[in-house]
């Protein structure tokens, strides 16, 4: 039978590094069912019969965040054979808090006292034996980064896995222990009454603590669990203690855990008194300095952008797009198909549908890999947390997080890595919001559209391109403010309580592995949804209704375009060509330029479509063209980006909502631009009324108080009052 070792520990305790070391290449990554929390498991190196289960990095087992819930449910319900609790020895007091909770689960616990090398280097002393005795479990000093002590930790864990865990020790004060004992005996009696098997001492203690804490999951139905009489008596016991301590029961337990730990640390840890600043403090002094913080941040971001979008990643992407999927693969496959003598439609499907479609998506892979490498490095070394620290103030005003900046910046190159960069944002609401808004910023593939419209309709004008970026930023901020006031995003206010880990040099294997994991996840997506979508669009644009191959202008897509086009009449461009071009933009935004070329009867056109500028200028008024541009900049992004949205949202519902919102918002913005422009030239109609209504709704959403978050609304008022007072 396979044994299961579960790894549990705080974020930044070196858990991932240890997991990678223990499992080598046997690990696989997935997701815990129903949540966006990553699930990783693998086999212990050299042991086919031992599975190592990585749990999310957590500070406690309280059921508030998805990570905590996942870890808690796994430990309580699936019950691994043994827990290896990774404890950051340099930050032992906070790390042992989780340990005290793990020790109550009734599963054998082995502590891997990690980063022991740094403790030794600092000249601090930890009495390993005494620590083990105080906590009641084996303690193995390790250094995951240097790879020392890991085997011993695994061996110790395996040798503990068969044995019963030590019986629980009273770590709380006399008052609380007394209350727990009383609750415990009431619970036991109740079980006896109901004819259930008695709990073991450990199980009883765990249940008693949960009942005392009024843990929602445990006490959802106190009357059936406890019986009405016992429930009332227990409530009395808890109330009495709460009055005495002037605190709620949950906090009493938390307090007492920390009191116990403080005692243990006093006995087992000798800190050398230091007056010198650590290297990490020195770095931090510069990096989050009042004056230097923002310039340094700008420099780091420029470097990330420069490496992944402009230079290394950009060159490789150009090569993959233009050479690999532009010449090499199509020529090779084309030659092969010719020699096989396959049917023309099949050749077209493979070359124009599959290879062109998937190639357009995979082309972004090199950029993404370089970007993921940079991000993994920034995350690992501790700078990412500082970015959030520096920028939180700005972004929280717009319903985003300090970490939203990176996705948006990266999104100016390509929305796909931009969306994927959002996964470093912990809060679900902030992450969803960032995923939805990142593609509002014009990406590299939208630049040809901007060049087309600017060149054809606004010759010599300098303001079109800057206005596109301005429009994108405004769309992000307006969306942030508006959606934060809707039910879906209101939720509980998520606290921004974030650890600022000490800076350290990340290990290369860990950073590379993170990069590859994220890259592979994207490739898998490209292989499924994106492939199918590309084939469908190709089919619709290459065949007519009698299913014969046809020019795009005679295709099914053109017919559908003609039928749908009136929807865009109020935006000023109800022309079927513009509709068809917009749809083909879903494969890749730059396709819009090429599609217009085909529809106006040109074969190959320049990147900015200069050949057909006269035709376009005749078909569009400048106002309509700008509305067309606005719609295409803001509406649903290409399939690759939609695929990325799907991946980060982990939910079809949220993906549809995101795409629907983007299209709806794009429509409204284009409507307002066109109709207000027409109004300025003296034209008033039904469209004008709708546009004005839309403006009113947006303004209303921007300025009403948050209807779904009472506490937050008060806070906003308070801030407003404070701001007014300051003025």
């Amino acid at each position: 039978m396979t044994k299961i070792i579960a790894l549990a520990g705080n974020p930044n305790s070196g858990k991932t590094t240890m997991f990678n070391d223990l499992t080598g290449s046997t690990q696989h990554t997935g997701n815990w069912p129903g949540v966006t929390v990553e699930k990783k498991e693998g086999r212990l190196k050299g042991r086919r019969d031992v599975t190592v289960q990585d749990l999310p990095g957590i500070y406690s087992l309280s059921p508030y965040s998805p990570e905590e819930l996942v870890a808690r449910n796994y430990l309580v319900k699936e019950r691994p054979d043994v827990i290896v609790n990774i404890v950051d020895a340099t930050n032992i007091e906070r790390n042992l808090y989780l340990t005290t909770q793990l020790a109550e689960l009734g599963i054998p616990v082995v502590i891997a006292l990690n980063m022991i090398d740094i403790v030794n280097k600092n000249g601090d002393l930890i009495d390993i034996r005494q620590l083990g005795e105080a906590l009641g479990c084996a303690v193995v000093p390790t250094s995951a980064l240097k790879g020392t002590g890991l085997e011993k930790a695994a061996e110790t864990a395996l040798s503990c896995s068969g044995k019963p865990p030590l019986s629980p020790r009273p770590i709380f004060s006399g008052d609380v222990e007394g209350a727990l004992a009383e609750i415990g005996s009431l619970l036991s009696e109740r079980r006896k009454e109901r004819g259930e098997t008695p709990l073991t001492a450990t199980e009883l203690r765990w249940s008693s603590i949960k009942v005392f804490e009024r843990d929602a999951e445990q006490t959802a139905n106190p009357d059936t669990l406890l019986g009405a009489g016992a429930a009332a008596r227990i409530e009395e016991i808890i109330r009495a203690l709460e009055d005495r301590y002037d605190d709620d029961s949950e906090s009493i337990i938390t307090n007492e855990r920390y009191l116990f730990i403080a005692g243990v640390v006093r006995e087992c840890v000798q800190k050398k008194n230091r007056h010198t600043l650590s290297a990490s403090d020195k770095i931090d002094r510069v990096v989050t300095n009042r004056v230097l913080a923002l310039p340094i941040f700008a420099g780091v971001m420029f470097l990330v952008y420069f490496l992944s979008i402009s230079t290394i990643g950009g060159y490789m992407t150009d090569w993959v797009n233009d050479s690999l999927f532009g010449d090499i693969v199509p020529n090779a496959v084309g030659g092969l198909l010719d020699s096989l003598g396959t049917a023309e439609w099949l050749n077209a499907l493979i070359l124009d549908g599959i290879i062109a479609g998937v190639g357009a998506v995979l082309g972004f892979l090199p950029q993404m890999l370089v970007l993921f490498l940079c991000l993994a490095f920034l995350e690992d070394c501790g700078y990412m947390a500082r970015i959030a620290f520096i920028l939180d103030r700005v972004f929280k005003r717009f319903g985003l997080s300090g970490k939203s900046f990176i996705p948006i910046l990266v999104g100016t190159g390509c929305g796909v890595p931009g969306i994927m960069a959002s996964r470093t944002i912990e809060s679900d609401n902030d992450r969803r919001m960032t995923v939805m808004t990142t593609t509002f910023i014009p990406c590299g593939a939208k630049l040809p559209i901007i060049a087309l419209i600017a060149g054809a309709l606004f010759p010599g004008s300098m303001w079109i391109a800057p206005s596109a970026y301005f429009l994108g930023i405004a769309a992000i901020l307006i969306t942030g403010v508006m959606l934060k006031k809707t039910r879906g995003f209101a939720g509980k206010p998520s606290p921004f309580v974030m650890e600022l880990p000490a800076y350290h040099m990340p290990g290369a294997p860990g950073v590379l592995r993170t990069m590859l994991d994220r890259g592979l996840a994207f490739v898998k997506r490209a292989g499924t949804i994106i492939l199918i979508a590309a084939i469908v669009i190709w089919f619709l644009s290459s065949f007519d209704f009698s299913l014969r191959m046809a020019e795009t202008s005679d295709s099914i897509l053109a017919a559908i375009g003609g039928a749908v086009a009136p929807i865009f009449d109020p935006l000023g461009w109800g022309d079927w060509r513009a509709t068809v071009a917009t749809v083909t933009g879903l494969i890749a935004k730059e396709n819009i330029v090429g599609t217009f070329g085909v529809l106006y009867g040109f074969g190959e056109v320049a990147e900015d479509g200069a050949e057909y500028w006269p035709q376009l200028a005749a078909a569009f008024t400048p106002l309509a063209a700008y509305a067309f541009l606005a719609f295409n900049l803001l509406c649903a992004p290409c399939f690759a980006a939609i695929g990325a949205i799907r991946r980060e949202m982990m939910s079809a519902k949220w993906t549809w909502f995101a795409v629907g919102y983007q299209c709806g918002f794009a429509y409204v913005v284009a409507l307002i631009i066109y109709q207000m422009g027409m109004l300025a030239s003296g034209h008033f109609g039904v469209g004008t009324v709708f546009a004005i209504l839309c403006i009113l709704v947006i303004v209303y959403m921007l300025f009403i108080k948050k209807p779904y978050a009472g506490a937050d609304a008060k806070n906003t008022q308070r801030l407003a009052a404070a701001a007014a007072a300051a003025e």
Partner: protein, 74 residues
């Protein structure tokens, strides 16, 4: 009432009471900010919010709106 929100960089304070409820309060306490804990206000972010505090040997970033839930004494 003196709260952590009003503390300035370089202050050393002791937590006397934690207000608020649910996830926010829970998260603050899980991170080691409990009654009696000693807090060192390391710095305030360049734009004036959030705070960086040191508690029980770890560095934590805390928004001022959450810091005002924490009552402290010098």
């Amino acid at each position: 009432m003196n709260t952590l929100e009003n503390a300035v960089s370089g202050d050393r304070v002791v937590v006397t009471k934690i207000h608020g409820e649910g996830a926010v309060r829970r998260r603050i306490m899980d991170m080691g900010v409990t009654k009696g804990a000693e807090i060192f206000i390391h710095k305030i972010a360049p734009l004036g919010d959030p705070l960086e505090i040191h508690v029980r040997g770890s560095a934590i970033s805390l928004r001022k709106e959450d810091a005002k839930l924490i009552e402290v004494a010098q």
